[in-house]
Every structure is written in structure tokens, then in C-alpha cells.
């Protein structure tokens, strides 16, 4: 077996150079929580690895600018979970990050890695969908900004080109009136891959009609899914009991869960329904209370 070419980028510029053609395609390594496992257990043999972990100075910041929150791709889950800025302005992301794996995984796993792998169970991804976040891809030649809703296009398949690096994710700040909730259902209470995860953001207008609704759900299809059928059916409507109950067929149209070693399609469908309905009921309850 050929030895792996290992290259350590010390600056973003260097990383982009190492990824640029004519060099052959490389595997980007950051926290290693996916790549090291694939190599060990998945029969994955990369020819070349570019380690971007030294880029933290450039790519691990969490800042607010122009009404948006920019989170560097090398931010770890632990950093997102404890960031005062996120906890104040984007608690949904902090909460989701805090629910990933267990402390040692959160100390290593990064936002960029979660997006790069785009596992259907990735816990950050429904949040990106619910918040309509944009992934910033840089290459030596250009910078592309792609909403995550158009980023993952198949099972672990994304639009990232091999010369591009995920450097940042930009989250528009949700409206102050919006209700945001994170639900994670794993096999146990820690250190668990999600069987279903749901990030939900929504708000009612003054008349009590749904002003907007974005639901990102994971582990219920080949990719994380933005539940457009549900939103399409409910935006502009009153959330009466009938309206909420009537959303179940739309939920079924949005997702296509399967049986796998972790769970069953039947379970995932039921939990997806229950969690969406729970969110809608909370939305009504919160609006009624204020």
C-alpha cells in the first residue's frame, strides 16, 4: 500500500494552494472524527491528506457582522456550544452543537467537518437548513456562497469541488419574534448518532397566521431535508388543531426514511411527525402566551 502524502497547511492561502489543480484530489483533515474512522473501519485509503487544523487563527472565529453571524469552519462543537455570542444570538446552533456526541468528540469535531461529510445524521445540518445558512467555499481562484439547502445534493454528496475549502458559514439572524427549537433523538442520552434530529424556526404574525416556518430534519432521508411541503402548507395559515393534524401527509412527503442498523423507517416517521407537531403546538402556545 502506498504511503499517504500528508501535507500540513499553516495558512489558508497555503491550504488553497495545496488543494488547487494540478495537484491530485486530496482529503481534507481537521478534527478527524470522520476521516480517521473511515480510514480505520471503512476501508478508506486516501492518497493525499491536507491537514487544515493549523488554520484556526483564520477559520475558527465566531463574529457578528451586518446582521449576520459568521462561524468559522474550524470552530469545534465545544466552541460553538460555549460561545457567548451564539448562546445569545443563535442559541439554536449552540444547543445543537452541545448535543453532538460527547465531550471528546465535541472537542475535535468541527462545523466544517460536519458540512464536508454531510452525513444525513449530521447534527449541524438541520440547523443550517432551518436558519437558511450559507456555506462559504473558497478556492485559489474564487469564493462561492451556497445556501446549505442547495449544498448537499445526495447521500453524502455535495457541490463542493475538490479544490474548494469550506471556510465559513454565515447565518442570518432570526427575527427576534421567531421561536427556534432543537430536538435530537439518538439511541441513548449521550454519544449517540441521531435517529431523528429536527431544527425548527418559525413565527406567527399578529393575526396568528404562520409568518414563516423553516424546518430542517436529519436522518430521515439520504440527505438532511428542508421540509418545504410542511412549510408550503402552513405558511399563511392559522395553526388550528385541524391544520396541525392535517400536516401529517405533508411531513410524509418531505421525508423518506429507511430501516438501517440504527433505527426503523416506521420509528423515524412517527418521531418526525411528533416533533414537528410538538414544535407547531409550542409555536401556538408561545404566541398565545405573549
Amino acid at each position: 500500500m502506498k504511503p499517504v502524502v500528508f501535507q500540513r497547511a499553516s495558512t489558508l492561502e497555503e491550504a488553497l494552494f495545496l488543494l488547487a489543480p494540478p495537484q491530485p484530489e486530496a482529503t481534507v483533515l481537521a478534527g478527524g472524527t470522520d476521516v480517521m474512522v473511515w480510514i480505520r473501519s471503512g476501508g478508506f485509503h486516501p492518497a493525499r491528506v491536507v491537514d487544515i487544523s493549523p488554520l484556526r487563527a483564520e477559520c475558527a472565529r465566531i463574529v457578528e457582522r451586518e446582521g449576520q453571524i459568521a462561524v468559522g469552519a474550524l470552530c469545534t462543537h465545544a466552541e460553538m456550544a460555549s460561545s457567548p455570542l451564539l448562546r445569545e444570538k443563535l442559541p439554536l446552533l449552540a444547543e445543537a452543537a452541545a448535543s453532538v456526541g460527547a465531550p471528546p468528540i465535541r472537542n475535535r469535531g468541527t462545523l466544517g467537518g460536519n458540512i464536508g461529510g454531510s452525513s444525513p445524521a449530521g447534527d449541524m445540518l438541520p440547523v443550517l437548513l432551518a436558519c437558511d445558512a450559507t456555506v462559504v467555499l473558497q478556492s485559489a481562484g474564487e469564493t462561492r456562497r451556497i445556501p446549505y439547502s442547495r449544498y448537499c445534493i445526495g447521500y453524502r454528496k455535495t457541490v463542493r469541488r475538490s479544490e474548494e475549502l469550506i471556510t465559513e458559514v454565515v447565518f442570518p439572524l432570526p427575527a427576534p419574534t421567531a421561536l427556534a427549537r432543537w430536538y435530537k433523538v439518538g439511541g441513548r442520552r449521550a454519544q449517540a448518532c441521531s435517529k431523528v434530529n429536527l431544527a425548527a424556526v418559525g413565527a406567527l404574525d399578529r393575526q396568528g397566521q404562520v409568518a414563516f416556518l423553516r424546518l430542517g430534519i436529519g436522518s430521515c432521508a439520504a440527505t438532511p431535508v428542508l421540509m418545504e411541503n410542511v412549510a408550503g402548507q402552513l405558511v399563511g395559515c392559522y395553526l388550528s388543531k385541524e391544520a396541525i393534524d392535517g400536516v401529517i401527509p405533508a411531513i410524509s412527503r418531505d421525508i423518506s426514511p429507511i430501516d438501517d442498523p440504527r433505527s426503523t423507517a416506521r420509528y423515524r416517521s412517527l418521531v418526525a411527525q411528533n416533533l414537528v407537531i410538538r414544535f407547531l403546538e409550542e409555536l401556538v402556545a408561545t404566541a398565545t402566551a405573549t
Partner: protein, 758 residues
Amino acid sequence: MGFIGQSIPRTDGFGKVTGQATFVDDLCLPDMLFGATIRSDEPHARLERIEWDPDFDWSSIVRVDASDIPGRNAIFLEQWDQPALAQDVIRHHAEPVALIACADRELLETARKHVTLVTRPLDPLFDPEEALTSEIKIFGEDNLFKQIEIEKGDAPGAMKSAWRVVEGEYRFGYQEQMYIETQGVIAVPGEDGGVTVHGSMQCPYYVLKALTPLLGLPPEKVRIIQTTTGGAFGGKEEYPSMLAAHAVLLALKSGRPVKMVYDRAEDIAVTPKRHPGVIRHRTGVDREGHLLAQEVEILLDGGAYCTLSPVVLGRAAIAAGGPYRCDNLKVLARMVATNKPPSGAFRGFGGPQAAFGVERHMDRIAEEFGVSPLEIRRRNLLQIGDTTATGQQLKDSVGIGEVLEKVAEISDFENRHRAYQHQPAKERLRRGIGLAVCFHGGGFTGAGETWLASKVDLELTSRGGVSIHCGSVEMGQGRNTVFSQIAADALGIDLALVQTPPPDTATCPDSGPTAASRTTMVVGRLVSDAAENLLARMTELLAQQAGVQLDAIHYGQGAFHWEGQDLPFGEAALQLHESCGLVRARAQFVDRDGMVWDPQTYRGDAYAAYSWAAIATEVELDMDTCMPRITRVVAAEDIGKAINPLSVEGQIQGGTLQGLGYGALEEVKMENGRFVNYRMTDCLIPTAMDVPDMEVVIVERPYQHGPAGAKGLGELPTDLPAPALAAAISQAAGFRFDEIPVTPERIAARLTQGKEGA
């Protein structure tokens, strides 16, 4: 003041908190090769030949197949049916067929891909219910490894006079031991044609007895040394014999040490797990809710080879009726063969399956009678003077009533159970509480201990102390500390003077397997006996040296006294060690209980002493996600005497969590005869977040022949959490769950089924 009864920190703790303890994978020998196993990819097939890719350079790889086995190709336990390497027929997925070894691990992995097994597929048999009548034959003519029938009184007759007959069926899946240290051994060839095996194991003498016929070597040429063992729980009772056989075959062929340590995926995919199966109960009850007749049918899936399955079945059969008084009982228990990896020993050893069946059934009886689960048990518990399923009369040491009442009181069972019956149906978070009781016999079944004839040696050391030599291992359960406490008290010396070297078959007698909750109760007693024999031997030698009569010397307060002289133990030990060389004393098991046992009819005294336990668990069930959260665990366990209360609590807490995992979390899924969730990511065990602090009560009803009254402990706590947890979840969900694990998926399936039906 003695050491028994005190919470002494474990004597092997220092190495474990500093990283100095040597586990097998920490050993690295000169010229060592790494071994790997070539396994079948089919559940049932005829093996035509093994193809070694002629274009691959095999020069630096050692290759072994069945033709390299010098003796009999079998791993002997109960039967000779399981080959070390498959020959002619493959009977389960991942069955070992050939072995390779190489100094370079990367090359080893590459080489593995250049071996092809040429096979002709055979129809596989997966369903244990079809095993007896199937055309497919795996074991004998009927695929029956063992059948046990127990008859007490006249169950069919008594059933006719019952006021009501309650029937139920209870199912349970595989459970993986998931010791954190995977299986591993190193085999070292000797210059005399013999071999030494270092490894993580429970039973060095099982390995010895498996290797000698396999290699055609006399026992003195095979030496087994236990390395620090990172958890076992039954999982390292039988499989190390297989792994050692493989490493030894490679070592003998290569003439070099060979290390084989499984990675987690291989460990989960191929090593034996707790037997899955089904238990059916039919119980006749009188108007007062007393059990008149019990009929129980047990079917366990043994997988492709016999391993220890008949003994597991025996445990299950004896425990099938539960710790209840019933004069008429009939048990039909069967262990059948299927084309799956063999099932095997796991803490509880048939007990958890039996307890799950009978305890869920008692809940069903309570429901039908409209009495509480506590009340139905109170009315039927065994008491002193009653007879067990095998007709054994209980004479003493019966703490079942006490443990049940303690748990009922602490958990406030009746009030909570009643309150949760009336909780609002629509709540998202619903609560439930469940209860279970059980018993577990200490030691080998029936005449097993007499047959084992276990031996323990105590030897004076050059430091003026003693060392304990026997085949029982420390695997985390506390053997070293407990044995040290027992020996120190028996000798009246300081704990620091007692050493517990790891078992080595060259220097330690066979004290039987480290299993069956027997180490403290049976072997611990032998430690105490050996200490007395050692004192007698020392007295004899001192009398000779001092030229006095034997009875002129007496021992007390840690010193020998005669004619105005006081010779402390340590000084005497040093003096004798120097003057006499090796001073050793042995104790061998003798049956002090006068046990009478018929292995054919399963009638008689099944165990010298029983331990008793009760548990209550509470859950909060999220009806949206069907995820139960365990909110309370109260357990009381009568173990005769807690030699080391700290260690006892640790055993109870750890064993309880394994039992809770069995009840609602842990699931090894199988498709077409192979385990599909063979990674730790998918084969879950509880984390620290999955359980609350447990409330543990130790009850001490001494067994007169145990060391200081101690009875078996290791397995008891694992036997009973599953039915209690299933009961709690059932109450919370409003549906009865009689199959474990009660996973959220099962709950969801049941809830949606209910909705469809409504």
C-alpha cells in the same frame, strides 16, 4: 479488627490508575508476529478448498489451515463439535477457516484479501422454532444440543383445579458483553515443543484443557498465564480457548510469538453473546392468587456450536419458575442449533432470560387478578422450609422477603404504582414503575462443585507473607482484594502481607472457572481453608524445629506461641521460608452441605446457597420520541456477607446497569445469520447519562459454609433489572411489552399499531 466487612480499596488499584497494569495488548515480545483470522462469509456452506492467490508473495506470511492441527480439531467444552478451524462444512457466518501471521500488520491486512474460500452454499437454518423439525441438520439428528425436563408434583393435574389459568409468551434478544478490552492473547512457542499463552481470560484451565487435545501435547507442555483482564462478564469464559488455539497454531508453525488482539468490529461480529430465545408460561392460580401449577417452556438459540449452552440451559430451567412457592411445576427447556455464531456465557448465564419470563408473567397474573405486582409476589415468595423447582428444601439464608420489603418501602412502590395507573392519558411525559425479584444459586449446579474439586494453594513468600495461588482470575470484580481480605483475616495478619499473583497454570492449581458467582463463595472459602492448613503446616514445622510437641504450639493474635515464646507470623514465615524452602498448603473443595443431585431428572439440591434480590425501577417515557428515561433504581440484594462493601456496591451497580441495558437499550441485530451492528457506534451500551444514581441496599443472611457467610454475588444484579424496566415502560406506555429490549422502535411500533386499531 479484621479486614472482612471493610471497604478496602482494591489491592490491584495502583497499577490501574497509573497505566502500569499490563493488559495483553501492552505486551510486545521480540520477533513477535501478528495473527489474523480468515473467516467464512456464509452462514452455511460446504467448504471445497481454500485458495491462496498464487500471484501474491506469501514468503513473509505464515499460513495455517485445519490440516496444520496436530491433534483433534475441536475446542472442547461440553462437546467436541466446534472445530478450531472449519473443515468441510461452514456452519455460521464469520466461522474461522484459516489463519495468517506476519510481522507487518499492514501487509497482514493486504494478505487477508488474497485468500478466497471456495464454497458451495447450503440452505441455512435461522429460526430456532424450526430447528427441531428442519431438514437442515447442524447438530445431530434433531439440532438439539440439550433438553431438560423438570417435574415437581403434578402440574397438568393441578392446572385442572385452578381457578384461573394465565398464559404468556416472553421474548429476548442477544446481548453483547462489551468488555472495554477486546479479546486478545499472545502465544509463545517453547524450545521443548511446548507453548505458553498469555491472555485476557476468565478460565486459564479451560484454555489448557482445550489446547492439549488440539495440539496433542501433555498438559505440562502447555502453560497459560492470565494478563490483566479488562472486563469479561462471561465473554472471556469460553472464547479465549478458541483465540488461544489460533495464536498457538500460528506460533508453533512459525516458531515465533504471535499476538492476536481483535479489533472491536471483529470482537462483536464473532464472539458469543447472551442466548436469545423465547419462554412460554402457563400458570394455574387459585382464588387467592397463589400459584397452583406452573408449566414453562424454554427455547434458547445456541447458534452453530454447543459451547457452554447446556449449562446455560440448566440455569434457565432451574430459575424458570422464579423464587416462588409452587408445588406443581413442569419445565421443558430446549437448546437448539441454528446457523448463527454460537451463543455463550454472559453474566447471569440463563438467569436473566428466566427472570425476564417469570417476572413479566407475574405482572400479567397481577393484572388479571387486579392486585399490585408487589402483592402478587408477597403472596407467593419462597420461605424457609419450602422447596424449589428441583425439590430442594430451603433450610436457611433466605432473604427474599426482606429484599422485597426493603425495595417496596424505599421506592414507595405501592403508592407510585397506583398513582401512575391514574395519570392523564394525554401527557407527553408519562411515568411508570416496575418491580422484580429473583434468586441466583452460587457455584456450579448440583454436583458440579464436587466434580470440579477446586484447589487453592497458599505459599509463604520471601517477604514474610503469603501468596495465594489458584486459577480463579481477577477480571475487575475484585478477586484479588477479597481473597486478600479473607486470607489476612484467616491468618490474623496485615493485608499488605498477602499477595495475589495472576493465575499461571504452571504454578497455580485449578480452582475451577471464574464464573457461576462462585469465586468468593466457593473459592474464597478455600482460601480461608488453605490458610488454616498453612497454619497447621507451619505449626508442624515450627514444632519440629523447636523440638516441642505439636499441641504445645498454638496460634493466636497473629503469632505462634509456645513455652513463653511469641513468634509473629511474619517472622515465622521468613524463618520457615529460609529453612524449609517452599512452604505451601492446599485446600480442596469438599461438599459440606451433603448435596444430593440427579443430573438426569434435575431433582435435588441444585445449589448450596441462593442469593436473593429485588429491584424497583421508575421511568419517564417521552411519548413523542418513545424514549424512556430511567429516573430511579432501588435494589436490595441478599448476598450472605459483604466481604468488601465498596466492592459489593460496585458489583451491584455495574451489574444492574448491564441488566437495565438488556431491558431497554442493548440490541445486537442480526440479518441472515450475521450481526449487522458490529461497531460500537451502533451496538450501544449505556453511558453515564443513561442512568441515575442507584439506591443499593445490602442484606446479609449468611450461608454457613461461605467465607464469613458470603454467598454468590456476581451475576445476581444482572438477572433482574430487565423485567422491572420492561414493567415500568409498559405502565408508562399503557401497553404491555413482553419482548426485550423494549426499544423506542418497539414502543413506536406498538403505539402506532394501537392507533390503527383504535
